[in-house]
């Protein structure tokens, strides 16, 4: 084998530790800014110095129990949706895949709808006595949504197995069919409930960020750190899976177990997100897609960047819903804003993208 000196040639590698670190740190800075803005501003102007100096002031109450928990939630949910969207687009080898593709949206929505229709407020109402205190802080729709999405994913996994193998297309098709079935069931429930509950169901389905307590937020953050960490750890193998199962296997990947781990991590991440936020669309579809046009398909880079990008995007979208309160005199669901902003932006990026071109050389 001929050996050559390549130091003179520009090596066109898009994934290097240095570039990944630079991009991740840059995007992390964007998240910090978005988080700060989201926690600082809202429909009611507050003074940070008063809020921090006087814990009994109204400003402090707004900051600590409304703004801050909601900004934290936006970061967690945005990161979860975009990171799992990135992983699922790779796993399904389909750029149109989103976090809800495996039946998660249908299962979560059906669960939450049933909980609301049954008039369940807190998860504690259902729990046996010893568990009641622990579950008192979790809402029943959240618990039902989580259970529904986990159940739906299990069903789709079982239904999507062809000859003992879970093929991406069979999974995709089963997920789509399950979502259609769930949406019909939800329509039936909506037709049967009273207008007040109907309003609550519609609001949940549109995707909203509420005010969760510190205990719930910590649990959600832990779950997402584990799930996103697992996906990122397996990102190198995910790259190989994107070439096709046989290619990945011939390059040393144990296809079945690797895909299962990635699917489970992605599903858990999405289930944890929808339980707290309802169905916030577009974040998990658009953020990884736009970042892929910019950074290339390498999941080792795309996955963490999607997590940060999704966190910043959702925090800013949620800030927009609160700033728009003075215009509409009501708060739009954040899912509406992500779709209204994300859709046109996405089309613009897609339109301007030239096929085959790589990212600019300065990054």
């Amino acid at each position: 084998m001929m050996r050559m000196e390549h130091s003179s040639i520009e090596v066109p590698l898009r994934f290097t530790i240095r570039r990944a670190a630079a991009l991740i740190l840059g995007l992390a800075a964007v998240v910090v800014i978005a988080f700060a803005a989201s926690a600082r501003f809202g429909e009611q102007p507050i003074s940070l110095s008063i809020a921090l100096a006087d814990p009994t002031s109204t400003d402090a109450a707004i900051f600590w129990s409304l703004r801050l928990p909601r900004a934290v939630l936006a970061i967690i949910i945005g990161a979860a949706l975009a990171a799992s969207g990135s992983a699922l687009q790779g796993l399904m080898r389909n750029p149109l895949a989103d976090p809800f593709v495996l039946g998660v949206s249908g299962g979560a929505a059906l669960g939450a709808t049933l909980a609301i229709a049954a008039g369940l407020g807190s998860a504690a109402q259902l729990a046996p006595e010893p568990l009641r205190a622990a579950l008192a802080r979790l809402s029943a729709p959240a618990l039902f949504a989580f259970a529904g999405s986990i159940g739906a994913t299990a069903l789709v996994f079982a239904g999507g197995r062809v000859q003992g193998q879970s093929s991406p297309y069979a999974l995709l098709l089963t997920g789509v069919i399950f979502n259609a079935f769930a949406s019909a069931a939800i329509t039936a429930v909506k037709a049967l409930v009273n207008p007040e509950k109907l309003g609550e169901i519609l609001y949940w389905l549109a995707g909203t960020l509420g005010y969760e307590n510190a205990w719930t937020l910590a649990l959600a953050a832990l779950l997402q750190a584990l799930a996103i960490g697992t996906m990122w750890m397996n990102a190198g193998k995910l790259n190989l899976l994107m070439l096709g199962d046989d290619d990945a296997a011939s390059l040393g990947v144990s296809v079945g177990p690797t895909r299962l781990v990635l699917l489970l991590a992605a599903s858990l991440s999405v289930a944890g997100a929808v339980a707290l936020s309802g169905l916030i669309g577009f974040v998990g579809l658009i953020v990884p897609h736009v970042l892929r046009l910019w950074l290339g398909p390498d999941q080792r880079l795309l996955l963490p960047c999607s997590a940060f990008g999704g966190a910043a995007f959702l925090a800013l979208s949620d800030l927009a819903t609160r700033m728009l309160f003075s215009v509409f005199h009501t708060e739009l669901p954040v899912g509406v804003v992500t779709a209204l902003v994300g859709g046109p932006f996405f089309l613009l990026v897609l339109h301007r993208r030239r096929v085959g071109s790589l990212s600019p050389s300065w990054l």
């Binding site: 066109p12 994934f15 080898r93 040393g252």
Partner: protein, 260 residues
Amino acid sequence: MNVLEVSALHAGYRHRPVLREVTFSVAPGELWAILGPNGAGKSTLLRTCLGLLSRQAGRISFLGKAIEEWSRRELAQRMAWVPQSFDSAAGFTGLELVLMGRSPHLGLWGLPSRADLDHALALMQDLQIEQLASRASDALSGGERRLLLLARALAQDPRILMLDEPTAFLDLKHQVDVLRRIKAQTEGGLSAMAVVHDVNHAMAFADKVLLLKDGAMLACGSPGSTLTTEVLERLYDLPIASADAGEGQKFFAPRFAQVR
């Protein structure tokens, strides 16, 4: 020691057995051509040897160890596959794709060292495809993809190459070009098994030929003694003519006058 030993192999799909009683062994540095009509089981044989399909009966031994005893990763460090094409939508560059061939030798994340990078670039230079290094793989021709996949396979540093129709989609010049490169590799000690459709390619380049018909071996041996008009007529159910082109080169072609 033989690189690959296949004995009394039966393989295929659950409700559709394909291969019956296939037995052969590949020595180091041998280039094998697998010939046969469509559906004869050529790709099934390659995929079974690669461990992508499980056996129904018989034995496959690779480097003295049963194929099922190798882990996927260990196998990928020693056996490489050159498929017909790849999913272009993935959007990786040529260099990224070739570097993926190093991943069986690397850690969980597949981070290449400077040496891995040099190795990949040298292979690309060797195959004269270094200009594809920064090109997105969606924008490549069939021939360029084929050469990238060959480079990726060679980057695995394998003991044997498994090639699925390496000359498909290529023009005459590139067909010969790819076969010469593969031949150069086997002359360097690498073994290779290639599914081919052109009898004349097998005649010119292969050390051994394996003729498959309806999942069973019709013949096996050196091309000079195995490839005769009688055997080929039975293999393809076609009247076949042969001609001497001089310089010891023999050609086969269907007898078009009788077929038309």
